[in-house]
């Protein structure tokens, strides 16, 4: 396709928009308009941190995730316990994952650009997360050390996520504030295992993403 044609479609569409709603506005006018949007909804936490953690656990249970709450020194034994219970042996991990999570008795494959086919052969994946949202039971992963590429937490059938309680917020707006500085990084909001309700509105766990999701809260 000739670039001239793309250019002309662009000019035509922008021209139609301006004909429909009036000429282009200055950045200041647009900014003032955005600032004028009413935002009376809940933007901060209403509950204590302990209550927020409890809410997150409740929401994760709602999604049939297994949850363990452990002190900082007990993470390794919790990881061992969770993975033993799920019967997984060989797991992929993103580069930069805390060394203490690489517990003995399991095989860990560090992702250095594994192909999708290779990711399809491991039993599971262990990651950390940037933020967790209690109100919706959501963990948010970004492409940073310890969380890795999006495909890594997608193709394997089991996902174990380690959540630092300092990264748990109550509401969606608080989470978006935390994510704002890294908004351009590839970001995935994960709320429970992959699911569908396309057949008679029955919720079925595990269609294409991981069928099993466990969370260890460390605090």
């Amino acid at each position: 396709m000739a670039s001239g044609m793309i250019g002309s479609a662009r000019e035509v569409v922008l021209g139609r928009i301006r004909a429909a709603k009036g000429p282009a506005a200055s950045a200041e006018v647009v900014q003032a308009g955005w600032d004028g949007v009413r935002r009376d909804y809940q933007r901060s936490a209403r509950h204590s941190q302990a209550e927020v953690i409890e809410l997150l656990i409740d929401r994760l249970h709602d999604y049939d995730a297994q949850v363990m709450e452990v002190a900082r020194g007990e993470v390794a034994s919790a990881v061992t316990k969770m993975m033993t219970a799920r019967g997984v042996r060989r797991l992929v991990v993103p580069a930069g994952l805390s060394a203490e999570l690489l517990v003995e008795g399991f095989e860990f494959v560090v992702d250095e650009g594994l192909s999708a086919a290779e990711l399809n052969t491991v039993d599971g994946v262990v990651t950390e997360c940037t933020v967790a949202i209690a109100e919706t039971g959501t963990i948010v992963l970004q492409n940073v050390p310890g969380q890795g590429r999006r495909a890594v937490s997608l193709v394997p059938d089991y996902h174990l996520c380690i959540v630092n309680v300092a990264n748990v917020v109550e509401t969606v707006p608080e989470a978006m504030d935390k994510l704002a500085p890294t908004a351009c990084f590839a970001t995935t909001f994960i709320s429970g295992p992959s699911a569908t309700a396309d057949i008679e509105m029955t919720r079925i766990k595990g269609v294409h993403g991981p069928r099993f999701l466990d969370v260890i809260l460390v605090g």
């Binding site: 139609r16 282009a24 308009g33 935002r39 999708a116 999006r150 351009c184």
Partner: protein, 487 residues
């Protein structure tokens, strides 16, 4: 329903199509069950939000503000997406969007693409265009897969196969996936889809998607989904092509804090859907496709923008809540609307996307009960737009059509007392040959000629009273003055 795409230009009128749908008791049962379940789930998760109305108001204002500065935000998105390594294309209409996508896919030498559920690609009938160019598109959303393998058409924005029950889906999968032993539990069916598609996810190098939101501030794109098929299509292929209506842009990343609360609770009755993906151009760390194209498509959206009363239609975030709440949709299902956009939002969106040249019967496919307005997460006043579009249809049909003529005549008569009384007398005389008395002496009309016959086809009309209220009142007043006792 055949494999022919839903096309508003050739679809039968709503009353005709609805009549067919109403005869399909299985379809009506499936639609009723599905909409009941989603409505109950939605009510539960909406009622637990004390700030729901504040979120709706913010959602509405964000969308309104975006439409007022649509040119600004599209240019900002283009600039930021391009800076992040994406390629932005513009399309005036469906044909141009199809041509851009087909050219891109053919340029890659691809013969297959994997697709995320996208109503925009349904709107432009992309799959047909790809097939014509020798490219097979695999639908990867479970519902879209059911539709594709069943040579069917989507009937709901969010749950496109809600008109099919598990036995019907099993028959389709048994036949098309060659699985004679397939069980019929939803889990069996989902497992079959997982196995069928996993191989495609790992093999096919080109992905095609729609978009829920284009973020002007960052140049990022957000896709909201449940199954993980979206994530597969967004991350595993080497090339990703996203097509989005120009209405999908939002000003800032922070605006998602409103829209990501409104959309899942309204659409599927979940606090958050399982997966939301946000990506910006081509990832510098090699996360996901090496090439990313996004097509910004008008296809009559600017026509809607130019109509001050219709403009709010563009605020829609495609949650489908209005469909589940609509007493008309709940009876007919989606196919009767003759468009991929069914239900109340379809009744206002489709005719406007057709620039009022087609689908003129859709603005009448509503009782104006307002249930759609009440559940809309961005407060689109659908009944108001429906009435506005009915006005447009009447004007468009010209002042010489029988209904408009009759209404004008009525207007003239109602304006003058003398004419009104004369018309009443005339009516009593004219109806006389049609009136049949029942056992209690009440007159009924069971048949009326011509245009009026629409009324008597399904009900009888009571005959006009022998004396009007006015006549009775005047007689009473004059007899009082004369001192005659009432009786």
């Amino acid at each position: 329903m055949s494999g022919t795409a839903l096309d508003p230009r050739t679809a039968p009128t709503f009353p005709m199509a609805a009549l067919t749908a109403m005869g399909d008791t299985q379809l009506r049962k499936n639609v009723r069950h599905a909409t009941d379940v989603i409505q109950a789930k939605r009510a539960r998760v909406v009622n637990e939000m004390p700030d729901w109305q504040a979120l709706r108001e913010s959602g509405k204002q964000i969308r309104q503000h975006t439409m007022e500065h649509l040119d600004y935000y599209l240019e900002e998105f283009e600039k930021n997406c391009t800076a992040a390594g994406g390629v932005v294309h513009w399309a005036r209409d469906a044909a141009e969007a199809r041509q851009i996508i087909v050219t891109l896919v053919k340029g890659l030498g691809a013969t297959e693409v994997i697709k995320i559920k996208s109503m925009t690609t349904e709107e432009i009938q992309l799959n047909t265009a790809l097939e014509a160019a020798g490219v097979h598109a695999y639908e990867t959303d479970l519902a879209e897969l059911i539709i594709q393998l069943g040579h069917d058409q989507p009937s709901h924005i969010v749950v496109p196969a809600l008109h099919k029950n598990r036995q019907q889906i099993r028959e389709i999968f048994k036949r098309e996936m060659n699985l004679p032993e397939l069980g019929e539990s939803p889990q069996d069916l989902a497992d079959a889809a997982r196995t069928f598609l996993r191989e495609k996810f790992l093999r096919v190098k080109t992905g095609v998607s729609g978009a829920n939101f284009l973020i002007a501030e960052t140049g990022g794109v957000c896709v909201v989904e449940s199954e993980g098929n979206g994530r597969m299509c967004l991350t595993l292929p080497e090339t990703l092509i996203t097509v989005a209506g120009i209405d999908k842009v939002v000003p800032r990343f922070a605006d998602l804090e409103v829209l990501l609360q409104l959309l899942p609770r309204s659409a599927t009755g979940e606090r958050m859907n399982p997966y939301n993906s946000v990506w910006t151009g081509v990832d510098v760390n090699g996360d996901g496709p090496k090439a990313f194209h996004v097509i910004l498509m008008d296809n009559a959206r600017t026509e809607i923008l130019g109509d001050l009363e219709g403009r709010q239609t563009l605020n829609c975030i495609r949650c489908g809540a209005c469909q589940n709440a609509c007493p008309v949709y709940r009876q007919t299902g989606g196919h009767a609307y003759g468009s991929v956009y069914a239900g109340p939002i379809g009744a206002i969106l489709t005719p406007q996307l057709q620039q009022m040249h087609h689908s003129q019967s859709l603005p009448y496919a509503s009782s104006l009960c307002g249930a759609c307005y009440e559940v809309c997460p961005v407060k689109i006043n659908i009944p108001e737009v429906l009435i506005h579009l009915r006005n447009k249809v009447v004007k468009q049909n010209g002042m010489l059509n029988p209904e408009a003529l009759a209404m004008r005549m009525m207007g003239i008569i109602f304006k003058s007392e003398g004419k009104f009384r004369a018309a009443q007398r005339l009516g009593r005389m004219a109806e006389a040959p049609l009136v049949r008395k029942d056992g209690r002496g009440q007159g009924w009309i069971g048949w009326l000629p011509g245009l009026l016959g629409g009324w008597t086809q399904v009900r009888d009309l009571q005959s006009m009273p022998e004396e009007t209220f006015r006549d009775w009142w005047e007689k009473r007043e004059s007899s009082k003055k004369q001192g005659v006792p009432r009786g």
